[in-house]
Symmetry: D2
Subunit: 253 residues, 4 copies
């Protein structure tokens, strides 16, 4: 296994499940299991362990994208991984695709999609609130996708600059106001997906989609329930998220 580079993000995983995302730098880090000297990471390979001053061992791992997601700065409302993943199932978005993403927020969805379209695809994400745009750019750099994902300080209700786009993804309050722009931006056969928490928004969106060059309209909701598998006590978790957003898909024709 290789060694982490200076300044690289590294996951520290304790056998209890506690985990931390830290950088290789000269710094002491206060974990729940004692102080960790992050400078010592320079002498370690991934797969080896870093000891706290209390002797507790943390496994040193290259972070996966889900690791980053747990630690990114979040906007209050955010598309969840369970829902973002359904976009892969319904649109086949993948390497090389060009994506326009409306309503950057914390950049979470743009990063999720950016990771999938690497190395030749691009994600252009539109945000008019400067404070969100800045948080998103920081998150994108942290994950190392700054060459793939671009934050644009533009109002997606006013138009989309890109053409021949494979996917337009919308997490904005009034997605029906973007339908005409998406129609122009999308390549024939390309997909639009919109995340909408309320039924009324859904109804407005359908009216706009039915008036445009879109087919294969479909709306789903996705529920994920955890199952706790314990010796002699296997059962579903007692709580779950009952609703985030409806997902609406449409295809440019």
């Amino acid at each position: 296994m290789r060694m982490p580079a200076e300044g690289e993000w590294v996951l520290l995983l304790h056998r209890t499940g506690d985990k931390y995302l830290v950088r290789v730098e000269d710094r002491e880090f206060q974990s729940s299991m004692g102080v960790l000297k992050l400078g010592e990471l320079r002498k370690l390979q991934f797969g080896q362990t870093l000891k706290s001053h209390l002797g507790e061992e943390f496994l040193v791992l290259p972070p996966s994208l889900p690791d980053f997601f747990e630690k990114l700065k979040r906007a209050p409302q955010v598309v969840l991984p369970k829902d973002a993943a359904q976009v892969v199932a319904h649109t086949g978005v993948g390497p090389g695709d060009v994506v326009v993403d409306g309503g950057t927020g914390s950049g979470w969805l743009a990063i999720f999609l950016g990771n999938l379209v690497r190395p030749d695809g691009r994600v252009y994400t539109y945000e008019i609130r400067e404070e969100f745009a800045r948080v998103a750019e920081e998150n994108i750099r942290k994950v190392g996708l700054e060459k793939i994902v671009t934050v644009k300080r533009r109002d997606i209700y006013q138009g989309i600059d890109e053409m021949e786009v494979d996917l337009v993804s919308l997490d904005v309050p009034e997605p029906h106001r973007v339908v005409a722009h998406a129609e122009k931006a999308l390549k024939v056969g390309g997909y639009l997906v919109a995340f909408t928490p309320c039924v009324e928004t859904l109804q407005q969106l359908y009216q706009a989609l039915r008036g445009g060059r879109f087919a294969e309209l479909k709306t789903i909701e996705c529920l994920v329930r955890e199952i706790l598998v314990r010796p002699g006590a296997t059962r579903p978790s007692t709580e779950m998220i009952a609703h985030t957003s409806y997902l609406t898909f449409a295809r440019r024709i």
Copy 2:
């Protein structure tokens, strides 16, 4: 828009939603809306329309991966897109990853993953039943992923050849028999995912995982419900798939 190449797979989409996956070749094709001369596709660009002998127009599109999935030869039990997509959410599998897939079946899951790891990643899918291996290879060629996805006539219960693997995905009757092999094959920080319809298999799998070098064990089920958005009559679909498989994730430490 470009023109389809000779022999290339092309999607024909009618405004009623009827669709066909055909190749550019000298052949007459009997659709539900009249006979289509497929040779005429040579004169068309994507985005243009092909007329049947009844004058019905079909839009000519480059097929998306979901289009292929609907038309592939299927094995009786198959991981569904809604579930396959959760693997993206939980493991971050993406471009460049190396994946070992156990129990090829019709190759559907291997293709789904192969599409995501393009162009530098690879999927090695294990299958001992010759008839399935052959169907899978045919499906992989159809989708154009033959350089990414390799079908191996090997019993995954006997071992995994690959090393430093990012993801091991298991859709076999006894996934607990693959845990020790996956432990050797996976890189530290890599993920295992198993699809298991029954609770008893889940219990055996956890016993094996708890005895090995795995952490972050988690099991979920994913339910997707369609919402029918119609003027004045918006409501969930009356039927849904209530269960396919439990998805168990574990991480190599």
Copy 3:
């Protein structure tokens, strides 16, 4: 155990799960397991068995209400037991209550409620379609609730005759048109419940309820999934009913 009376409805249950609802009378009955002479029921007590001409044994049981429900003549759209039961949970409807039921259909819901308000309560169920009213009356007699449940050939959109009612239950296309009538008919503290498949009906209903003397408005949906518990193969059923109706509750103040 007592013996069934002449003409009484009797449940015949085979160990395979096959079951029939028959009457004590001079008749031959063709079951899936051979011919049964129903006259022989006169010599049997409940709990004993009746043999077919092939020697197959059927257990003779007094039918439960769920047995009747499976065998009643049904209207195409019907409130399901899982949903009807939620009315008990949310309103506490029980012995002695007076219920007005709008949209009799096959009478199923009226019978369900009639069984619960016995012996001193009453259900008045409104139906304007003569063919449904007749089927409902037949079903009510079959179950033996003709003294409890009365079918009224009246349009509930035009008004409700009863006063000081404990519960108004609505399974009609436009429940908002009954809200003002229900307000007059219900006793203070009484409940209204409406079964509505579509969101738009729900929205109209809430507008009417908010304009009237109602409080504690609440809407739920109820999903029931079967679990198949088999040796070594315990798992949820692969299919389930994804939607019947939204249930809206409101309380007269």
Copy 4:
């Protein structure tokens, strides 16, 4: 409307949804909306209002069973109304039935069933923990079902005293230990229902039921999701209870 009797439980409902369960007695009660003199209830009829010292009006209502349920002393784990109601759907339990209930806890389920079997049925509920038995008896008196529901300080694992029972309901850690007793106690055609949170308990229960005189074995889980119907913002609630218990039904043959 009648007047509440001295010492009777009365529901006070404010238009904000705040509600209190109080008795007619000489006492001052501190509500969230000011002090209420409960002695003044003697001069009021149900349907009239009681004013706090701040001038806030509370509607005076006869409490429904759900009102009582919200205010009863609860044991930590309790069968929820959504699940208890499914027993009505699957067994048809109703007026006149004799029920044996194992594991009284706070008495909630016994009260739910007691209310349904009134006035001629009976519920015998078994509890060995004295502190629970006392809380349950207090709750039963509060609801006014002391003539219908009897708490027995007996271990239901040791046996059931009653015979010709219509329903045995089990909310105990090891329901399989009660199956043989239930077989003796139940009348032919009667039902057993067991509430079990874990799959392993379910598997043991089925083994016992399959070894006994039971048919029509069925297990379900019931999920209830709230829908928030607000002008322009109709959507499901963001959280829900994902699991309480599996419900298993079996019928004595």
